[in-house]
Assembly symmetry: C2
Homo-oligomer: 238 residues x 2
């Protein structure tokens, strides 16, 4: 796959419907991209892929570096071979500020995808981690109802995420969706709120190619209803 194209395995609606028992080896996802987001079997923790390395950010606050991507399975992941076309340094007061920045920097991207990475110090950052299903087919709304919220101040780290156009809601998450990991790769999760401490490095790229691979020979996926639950997705991933 070329640089700055989106590769995705399975769809968010499948997670909403609790399809998370099986998946694809993370090594196959890494072959398509070096930066991204996702989750793990049974939605145990949040996934972030940075510089080709995969981390599992668990509900107890710990982070596991996935050193065996051939043997570790993901039921849902989105990655890109990230080669930013835009770099800037800026202070940001929060998610809305970042949203406005991206819209300003990419005026013709409303119906395209964006990838964005930020490196720097965060005055405050709140992120959550999902603890996983307590029974097979438990849906993402119920899984996230038990999420753990973590708050840090003055922490150095990396944010990576995607902006997806409205029309992919259900397949992915429409709008901005970002994960965070600390510089020492010891803490991280799905971002709820943040504020930078001074300027941070922002790098981004617009993307116009989207590749979707669906689970095969997976009875859970085959039998799932996969109706659009836009409100639910917005509630747990927005």
């Amino acid at each position: 796959m070329a640089c700055n194209e989106v590769f995705q395995y399975s769809i968010v609606s499948a997670l909403m419907d609790g399809v998370a028992t099986h998946g694809t080896p993370i090594a196959r996802v890494l072959a398509q991209g070096d930066h991204g987001l996702g989750t793990f079997r049974n939605m145990v923790g949040e996934m972030i892929v940075v510089d080709g390395e995969v981390y599992q950010m668990k509900a107890d606050g710990s982070v596991v570096h996935i050193s065996n991507p051939e043997e570790t399975v993901t039921p849902f992941a989105t990655v890109t071979r990230f080669r930013p076309t835009m770099h800037t340094r800026i202070s940001l007061t929060g998610k809305e500020d970042l949203e406005a920045l991206l819209t300003r920097l990419f005026p013709a991207a409303k119906n395209h995808f964006l990838a964005v990475r930020m490196d720097g110090v965060f005055r405050r950052i709140h992120f959550r981690t999902a603890g996983g299903q307590i029974s097979p087919r438990e849906g993402m709304v119920d899984v996230c109802a038990r999420q753990t919220v973590h708050s840090f101040e003055g922490v150095k780290g990396t944010i990576f995420g995607f902006r997806c156009p409205q029309y992919v809601m259900g397949i992915n998450v429409a709008g901005d969706h970002m994960h965070f990991i600390t510089d020492d790769r010891q803490r991280g999760g799905h971002i709820l709120a943040f504020e930078t401490e001074g300027e941070v490095d922002v790098a981004a790229a617009q993307m116009s190619n989207f590749h979707l691979e669906l689970p095969t020979e997976d009875d859970e996926f085959n039998q799932a209803t996969l109706v659009l639950q836009a409100q639910g997705i917005k509630a747990v991933e927005g």
Copy 2:
């Protein structure tokens, strides 16, 4: 692109919103697949791709073989490198009968894509052709309100089309979407109804990879709202 994967240029919601002035050379689409559907600039006629050949089926009933795919542009097309994994011969009483057949032959395809081709004699077949926009940005519902309906009896020809899962509605057309062209490649269009005359050859394949390429440097596409108009799409493409 590998065999039996879906390649799509732009999205159906863009056509609904009248985005059809620009596009991509058909030669670029043909590089990704040898069977498919689509339309032409300003939605002038229906496109069918069979055995690597592209035909423009116009509202006046004529069919133009596209002999210069490098110079001809499509604002929307879906193709696959079709290598059927299932072959059968069967009599069919209509679209519902074909729907039931495909569901029976591919029991684990509810959340996947199908490609299907039928060759044979059709006792009766009704198809429509869209005549094109009368002004820029005219939406597909208005374009199709002026569609021409053609009816034939005892005609030999080829049907090709796709079944898309429900969750791609708006990106493509959920459900079955088929075009027809006569054996002599002189008549054809978007199928409204059909009945076979005795048995026809049915060939099909299940597909689990979907590649979407979005228009770039296209102000019409960039500015379009692209909200899901599921009922409208069903009305004109279902």
